[in-house]
Amino acid sequence: MTTETAQRRASTAPLISARGVTVKFDVARTGKQMIALSNIDLDVMEGECVTVLGPSGCGKTTFMNVVAGLVKPTSGSVFIDGDEVSGPGPDRAVVFQDYALLPWRTVFDNVRFGLEMQKKLSDGDWRDRVQNAIDMVGLSGFESSYPRELSGGMQQRVGLARAFVAEPRILLMDEPLGAVDALTREVMRDEIGKLIAQTGKTVLFITHSIEEAILLGDRIVVFKSKPGEIKEIITTGIEGMGSERNAQNDERFHELREHLWSVLANEAAAASK
């Protein structure tokens, strides 16, 4: 942990840098424009895990899609290591809320999908890499299962393996545990925390769970809705990740949770008016 923290502090230029990102959608039914994101500025350092917290419809997923290169901002830009994002790239991988697995592919073939599309199957060791990723997320023995034969939690493990095997610098996670049952959610949250810590990836983690935001994030970015803007950015200041944070005994955890509750409750009340 200490060497990683040192590495984080050593790099001064941000890996992800959002400048004035604004996204407007035309709403065909009403003919009006909807402002999904307004003037977002955010820097994420290499090796940092930033959690994005906000009520439904605050634009946090849109923001992730802009970073992923799936949505073009109406104005403003996102830079990865200084290069402006113009579309998806092998430096970024996404874990989707609804898993987005290919139902016609087995677990093994789903995990290798990224390597296949990026034409990395000529690398001699790709089979080992795919197998390692499957082992890493705890799916050994399910290589030839189809997604429909797996539980939601297991399907998301496939989604994680598919992201890790592509060896991106940045992992974008769009409420990855949003569709998973409560118990699995806690177990997987801790596992994701460990994986992030082990691999030292830079992570943008979208969530509406306060616990996830605190337990996984080095910093928490709180979004407000109508229009989607950054309300505040909080440094958690807790070492470790997931269960390593031993959250229940940590005073800082309770302090953060209480604070975020009151912020989000106000936001939710404002959004429903």
Binding site: G87, V94, A100, L102, W104, G114, R148
Partner: protein
């Protein structure tokens, strides 16, 4: 026959449902056989023994079976089935050749959908009987009109299902493919085509059934040979048992073709097999 017994949302809830869902394949076949035997026995009693219904309108099962023996031994089936089979196979084959590329185009391209779509729906919505007189004028009295009606009946369900499959491709799967580096061109073979396969087979199953109906419509109105001609001739000479036997053969053929389609689907697309959840 297994697809008739596949578990669905309504099964497994009640005690009977749970019992049915838990049966082995062998027990299920046995159950269906028993059901058929009981039905046939009742039918035989009502028509053959008690004569509550005039057997000229609905023949008893035993007279259908003797009719089946008659048309098999007299060579009537051997004389008529090949013509029907040929028309069916050629018509269905042509339907595939037309429906698959057109269905893909319809699903992929909004302009094609807007321009060709309404015309195709109009032809599809026209009852196939209405084409029969025209088909005769166009294709004469041989196999031509039968092939045409099989084609017209089968082509649209295949085409529209295929197009719907492409248009309803899961958007987050498309996003995932883009994120992991799929070019716009590669999305077609990698994402759109495989995800439309279950729709294609749903269309094929409908196409099989409608193809037979088209075939019957063409053959019943004055074809010289074919199972439809055999049915008409038998009915006109009050050989109702033989007519029903011929109908039964057509039904068995159609169900077999639906089953063949399902088997091909399981082989081509094993992921659609109803396993687990």
């Amino acid at each position: 026959m297994t697809s008739f017994l596949a578990t669905g949302p309504s099964l497994g809830g009640s005690r009977v449902g749970a019992w049915l869902a838990g049966l082995s394949l062998r027990s299920r076949i046995l159950l269906i056989s028993a059901e058929v035997v009981v039905m046939l026995a009742l039918w035989q009693l009502v028509v053959g023994v008690f004569r509550w219904i005039n057997p000229v309108f609905v023949p008893a099962p035993l007279s259908i079976f003797s009719g089946l023996g008659d048309i098999l031994s007299s060579g009537a089936v051997a004389a008529n089935a090949p013509a029907s089979l040929q028309a069916w196979v050629v018509g269905f084959g042509l339907a595939l050749v037309i429906a698959i590329p057109l269905g893909l185009l319809l699903g992929v391209s909004l302009p094609v959908d807007r321009i060709v779509g309404p015309i195709a729906w109009a032809i599809y919505a026209t009852p196939s009987v209405a084409y029969q007189p025209l088909a005769k004028a166009w294709f004469g009295f041989g196999i031509g009109p039968v092939v045409f009606l099989v084609l017209v009946s089968a082509v649209f369900p295949i085409m529209f299902n295929l197009a719907a499959g492409i248009r309803t491709t899961n958007t987050s799967i498309i996003s995932a493919a883009k994120v992991y580096g799929a070019s716009k061109f590669r999305l077609y073979p990698a994402i759109y085509l495989p995800s439309t396969v279950p729709f294609l087979f749903a269309g094929l199953r409908q196409g099989v059934v409608l193809a037979t109906i088209g075939m019957m419509v063409a053959e019943l109105s004055g074809a010289a040979v074919g199972m439809g001609a055999l049915i008409i001739r038998s009915t006109n000479t009050y050989q109702v048992g033989q007519a029903f036997a011929a109908i039964m053969l057509v039904v068995i053929f159609t169900i077999s073709m639906v089953q063949v389609t399902t088997l091909v689907e399981r082989w081509v697309a094993p992921w659609t097999r109803g396993a687990g959840k």
